[in-house]
Amino acid sequence: MAHANLSHRRTHNLLLISKLLNQRDHASPLTLVLDTLEQPAKPLLREYLRRARLSRTTTILLAFETFVKPRDVDFFLECHDSTKVLDTVARKVSEVMRKSGNKRCLILIDSLATLVSMSTSPTSNLNLTAFLSSLLQPPPQAGQAEQGQTPQISVVAVYHTDIPLPAPSASPGSAYPYSPSPFALLSYLATTIITVHSLYVLYSETLAQAKSRVAPVFGLGEEIEGVVIGLKPKGVAVKPEEQGIVLELEHRRKSGRGVLEWIFLPTAVDRHQSGAQAVREIATLLDDHPLFRKSKEEETPEQALSGMTFELGLTDRQRLEREGVVLPYFDAQKAGGGEGGRILYDMGVEDDFDEEEDEI
């Protein structure tokens, strides 16, 4: 079924991912990017930055684990010393936004791990929801109140799903025993969740599935002592322009309807191109990637029924003859079909007309 409406998905969902990555029309105020050590989210962040530069959006990077200022970032806020971060970062962000004077603003958080572990410790007094909404809705400033417009701010935050929560520093459970885990909270808050997958891991899973084998696991999932990051298979030969990352997209529309899609984002793009080349959408559906493309024969019903011992299909001649058969009442409809609910019946010789019986 998924293959049948491929062209429909190609049109709509590619428009959607392009809108999301470009942050057009304020499509997603809070995007949560989930990644693991097997495929870090840095290439996706780079793509966000590249597109933000093209659309002249001001970018702010809250750097919790980045130490070198990336190329396309306008403002680089170091948040390494987490003890000082909390009270200052929201203020700094609004300062920076005032300075830039740009109405469109993209805030990137390169790792939520520090914030999340602080939010679980009772001593730090951090409310994750309040912190994120303070980023999204900065206190109104005098100049903007006069103009009556608020800046359009989007937050893209990376959450490393393979980092377990640290043990609470106080006695366990005493903090907020009834509150949800930070990850659950974040996934409820987010308007878009993008899970980043490694192309090679997915491909080896597909290969295993095709042979009905258990899918291999990589890295921490292997549970081999001493293995933190998995070794990707080397046998996969892909052209450089077909290398990239796979995004599992979940977008919640304002209507409440969710959109799920698997997107392939090439990473080996020449970033120095400009003009129409740079604006062109490079993301494709995962089903259109050469490694994951399903062959046409696989999908047609003839192929699916090929293993049977009897013939269900039709030959060409049979099909032609079937089409030539005129079903009853076709000519009757032509004759008097438009006259309402009249019963058309021609009496045969075997019919015995009985007025009492047939008068209902």
């Binding site: 840095k42 070198v68 390494h80 987490s82 366990p172 459970g173």
Partner: protein, 341 residues
């Protein structure tokens, strides 16, 4: 030419020495990591051979923090591979913070190298007052603040010192000695190379031994440290109970140590450029194999993410994750080879 740094690892180790990078060495109980730490140290001091790109970057001074292992072990292992730690300590090219000599309140930064001639007990090391995070931070800040060896007087004294290194080295292990004096002679202490490289062995021991330290505090300590130094190299344990228990079971399971350690290691791996993972053979032990070393790219790809992408791209592209077997020999050398070679 036999080098103390195994040829397959050389390119990776060289890449670990680029500015603002962080390297993580993980090991398990059966495959300890000091041999690799010392080779990283060696590369930080003298550079990696056959790599002209990094020759100008060598000459960083090194701050070496050892929280689990004694100086005598490092000295002995270093001697075997041509790394003369005592003389490096005396010349202040390596500065050593001793986590095992705690308890004594005397912080000896004995600058008089004349007093410490051959007695390893009197080498200029810095002792920690305690294993509390504050004391470690103070000790490191103190070492970072003290003037480095880039003054002309000590620069001239470095030349006879390196010759003494070569004599002791040639007395011990033949072929790898000639490169030490040449590397030391061509090196010039440029002011640009001012920030030191910091090695911390057993940083995860802090989490276990000091329950008062939270993971957030420790991480922000390391992050501030990283912004002050040229490159940061950390060695941690990645044994199964410390890595997996909390990730598989329900979020509330696991002891605080297990959960904190797993949190700490995975967070570090996400901010690390290269991860050296040592482990035993999956199939059991063998006489001629000490273990498996896997080099993986961590979560920090600041080369591509960062500003200097254009010039380094070609260099980085050909470095992919890989895995080798290694064998430590009795003479301190190490052989690294791929499976089936």
């Amino acid at each position: 030419m036999p080098s103390s740094i195994p040829a397959p690892l050389a390119a990776y180790i060289a890449d670990c020495l680029t500015p603002d990078s962080q390297t993580l060495v993980t090991s398990v109980l059966s495959t300890p990591a000091p041999w690799l730490c010392l080779r990283l140290l060696y590369a930080g001091l003298y550079g990696v051979e056959d790599s002209a790109r990094h020759t100008e970057q060598t000459g960083h001074e090194v701050i070496f923090v050892s929280l689990l292992r004694p100086l005598s072990l490092w000295t002995e292992m270093g001697k075997k591979m041509g790394l003369d730690l005592p003389s490096l300590l005396k010349s202040r090219r390596v500065r050593y913070i001793d986590g095992l000599a705690g308890g004594t309140t005397s912080s000896t930064m004995s600058t008089g190298s004349a007093t410490a001639e051959s007695d390893p007990q009197q080498l200029p090391t810095t002792r920690l007052k305690s294993m509390a995070l504050k004391d470690i931070r103070d000790a490191l800040d103190g070492v970072l603040k003290t003037p480095s060896i880039s003054t002309p007087s000590t620069g001239s004294s470095a030349t006879p010192l390196s010759s003494s290194t070569s004599t002791t080295g040639s007395a011990r292990g033949g072929a790898l000695t000639p490169r030490i004096p040449t590397a030391a002679a061509t090196r010039s202490f440029s002011p640009a190379a001012g920030r030191p490289t910091i090695y911390i062995d057993g940083i995860d021991f802090l989490l276990a031994s000091q329950p008062a330290i939270s993971t957030v505090e420790l991480q922000s300590f390391l992050a501030t440290l990283r912004s002050k130094c040229h490159a940061l190299m950390l060695a941690c344990q990645a044994d199964s109970p410390l890595l997996h228990s909390s990730s598989t079971t329900s979020p509330d399971a696991g002891t605080p140590l297990e959960r904190n350690h797993a949190h700490f290691i995975t967070s570090l791996a996400h901010s690390t450029r290269w991860l050296f993972q040592l482990r035993g053979l999956d199939t059991g032990s063998a006489n001629d194999i000490s273990g498996v070393i896997r080099v993986s790219r961590g979560g920090d790809d600041s080369i591509e993410f960062g500003p200097n992408e254009g010039q380094d791209k070609n260099h980085v592209q050909d470095l992919v994750d890989a895995e080798w077997l290694y064998q430590l020999k009795g003479d301190g050398s190490v052989r690294v080879w791929a499976r089936g070679e």
